[in-house]
Subunit: 481 residues, 2 copies
């Protein structure tokens, strides 16, 4: 395999990461925190490595093969995480390299699990860096979903090749241009939410960092109390809408901007997603109202915020839903797996796969009743190609196996049952908090053994890259060519 | 739909059930326990209903359609459960109808979850009835797997149509004859294990009842302490081999009897099943030895027994594995889902489905690496037809959804997380005990609210009949014809 074009891309991405380290460096310098030097040195090292890699591998711009694209994707995310962890490792927080890597992976994959406590008194540089990582990770995954995933045909993502090429034929000729347009939409949405948060009473700094981690469905906050720290119904509402906005397909936003105003809501993914969210919110709010005796409006506020946070994999919290009673824990546990729409910043199994799985199951039932009938499952009013069905179904199976193995491995590290299974789920679905007293919304992952943190970081990467992007690399057939 | 042939079958089955009630009646009469009257009256009522149904619906023996077969299967199991619960409801145990129905469903589906405590002092009739129900349920499912399931093509069971018809062409001309031959093998195995248990020190009564629930992978015992009550390494070993024997495909036993001596071990299902079992036993035994400080031989004995009990869905216990430490709980949780071979008495997802899913996932990976290559998944050295792959994958998805919904529903009943998810898993996989302090191997399901018991009974039936047999009945298309 020709590695040079891969190294070139990794080099360019590292240089970009280095440049972005200037922002927290500046923030720390402004308030006179000595950590600005850590960011400056980290930026220097990262820039040096990135530029060196890029310069030594300049090529004539050949097209990447699918195999090269797999290696490039995995290598880029890992390299970015390693260098992104430098500021955490050397800042005044004094994190171990394990903790720094965990935090960086949790950031860049938009997971939002944290090992840091004392965020309220942390220097602005670190807080900004956490938010920036999630923001970059979020836009990175949107671009990947358009530009790379359909080509890799991972877990049914080829379903969206036709969609994006549809658009490209009509309006924008190439994937790169679509990606830039989506980037602009991403920036605009972030600005809107920053303004809204500022208006609702956050400081400018809080507004910007929370806007970045809301649209990225990341979930890092500037307070140990997460968004609950602000204790404001308005902020909760803004965050709820923002997290759901981050969970919609960004391509649909592009169509809306291009004049097709109802594009977002005519996408069947969006219809399913919002229906599930509304249903879950009503059920949870009803429970909080009737069983827990909350005021109905407050029940709705808590339910809407926390359900949206978990289903989109954001991971903000305003109250410890582990304590909502027996009903809530299994609901939140299974919600973790769902995720948002394809082409959004969310992770998890994702709505379109449930639609494909549901269509396949219904077809199956019809087939059982009329063995000689011909039934074809549909998605968005089009027949689903056979290979997409098999891809999606295999994805679901492999997701289940990875989750089970990760949970068992975490159990072997000494984690109790709810901590082990919810940590496995939260990692692989890029949610953020787990369930139970240790890693629940009120806790952190600090106390976990190092091996558990590495395993979880692996799970986050696996989930973020749709499993197969990583798994193929472990196949002998891949390296035989 | 013509219901008469369906009612005829239900009537015949009820008459058979009534006849089998004579056995516990005799047992109670011998020891002078007044419960013999309960069995006699229950037998009378059941016989009357069964014979009436059969007589009023005598038909000219037409072939059943697939739709009739679905209704017949579901209706038979439900009717048998209702009448089987009569002795529980009216015996001196004084169970509520909910408890009686739960116990009967748990018996007939070979689950082995119980709501009864004080087994050690219970009259022999009830103990025999529990064992008989599991034994009849076990042979019922083997016969169904040969005679009905391949016709219903549920969850990939059509994979075994070719196998059974292969055999039938060569040696035994018709499904009915194969079924009778399997019944004989089932009786012989039960006798062998009864003799072995008797030899190992059980009383004759204990030996017979345990042999019945071992080969049926049922798990009802005559003691609250389950097999742990006997505290004998020899009995543990006999039970371990017996549970695994119940988890093998009975058709392979038939081939062995017909002279193909290695047939059992050349079946790839069996190879996978035994490999997984051995691997899990070694891992658990190693853990008990190194981490918990057990004597190595004792570790192997406990591990072999309890792993075999859970993976085959038998549900016997010799020690509360919930207390083996953090490692054990997730392992046992996920083992619950696996099950044994198709055509055995076990439930769960079953090994052949994991083989098909694995083959599909590997094909998927090869396809990702070489998008234009042609890769065909194989099972037992034969290509797997596309519709089988889709069936199996849909089964896995529907299994996951049913499990999640059942766990959430049980959470709503007030069960804590581990009780809710493990009860859902143990019901749908027909295992027996759950995990945790309430429903773990040392507990019972007695304390659960009635609604939870009904939900679990529904889950047991759903799992036992391979989900789709029940689910199709809820589809409008089914009743439209």
């Amino acid at each position: 395999m020709e590695f040079r074009p891969i190294i070139l891309v990794v080099g360019i991405l590292l240089a970009t990461l280095a440049a972005s380290m200037a922002i927290p460096a500046a923030a720390d310098a402004v308030v006179g925190n000595p950590d600005w030097q850590v960011f400056a040195v980290s930026a220097g090292v990262t820039m040096f490595v990135g530029v060196s890699l890029a310069l030594t591998t300049r090529t004539g711009g050949s097209r990447l093969s699918a195999r090269q694209a797999f290696v490039m994707t995995a290598l880029s995310w890992i390299a970015l995480t390693v260098f992104a962890s430098l500021p955490f490792a050397f800042s005044e927080l004094n994190l171990s390299f394990t903790d720094a890597f965990f935090e960086a992976m949790s950031g860049i994959t938009t997971t939002g699990s944290t090992v840091i406590t004392g965020l309220d008194s942390a220097p602005p540089g670190i807080l900004l860096w956490r938010a920036l990582l999630q923001w970059l990770g979020g836009v990175g995954i949107i671009v990947m979903a358009i530009a790379i995933m359909p080509m890799l045909r991972v877990g049914g993502m080829q379903l969206f090749r036709m969609e994006s090429s549809d658009t490209s034929e009509k309006a924008l000729p190439r994937a790169a241009q679509i990606a830039s347009a989506l980037g602009v939409i991403y920036v605009v949405l972030t600005c809107i939410w920053a303004a809204a948060y500022r208006f609702a009473g956050m400081t400018g700094f809080e507004a910007v960092t929370h806007a970045m981690t809301t649209i990225a469905t990341g979930g890092f906050s500037t307070s140990d109390g997460s968004v609950g720290h602000f204790d404001s119904a308005l902020i909760d509402g803004i965050a709820t809408v923002g997290m759901l906005a981050g969970g919609l397909p960004f391509l649909a936003y592009l169509r809306t901007v291009q004049g097709n105003l109802t594009a977002v809501f005519r996408d069947s993914q969006v219809q399913w997603f919002l229906s599930i969210v509304v249903l879950a919110i009503l059920a949870a709010a009803g429970w909080l109202w009737f069983e827990n005796g909350h005021d109905p409006l407050q029940a709705l506020r808590f339910a809407a915020f926390n359900i949206s946070s978990v289903i989109t994999g954001t991971g903000y919290a305003t109250s410890d839903f582990s304590l909502w009673g027996s009903f809530a824990v299994p609901v939140f546990f299974f919600l973790m797996f769902i995720g948002g729409c394809a082409g959004s910043t969310t992770c998890g199994i994702k709505i379109f796969r449930f639609q494909v799985l549901y269509a396949a199951a219904v077809t199956q039932i019809h087939h059982l009743i009329q063995p000689h009938g011909v039934f074809i499952p549909h998605y968005n009013r089009r027949p689903i190609p056979d290979d997409v069905i098999t891809s999606v179904l295999s994805f679901f199976f492999v997701f289940g196996i990875c989750f089970a193995l990760l949970a068992i491995a975490l159990g072997m590290m000494g984690l109790d049952f709810i901590t082990a299974v919810s940590s496995a789920a939260t990692a692989i679905s890029n949610v953020g908090p787990g369930l139970g007293p240790v890693v629940g919304p009120a806790g952190t992952f600090q106390s976990l053994p190092d091996t558990a943190k590495w395993l979880m970081a692996g799970g986050m990467l696996l989930g973020r890259l749709e499993l197969f992007t990583i798994i193929v690399l472990f196949s002998r057939a891949f390296w035989r060519g």
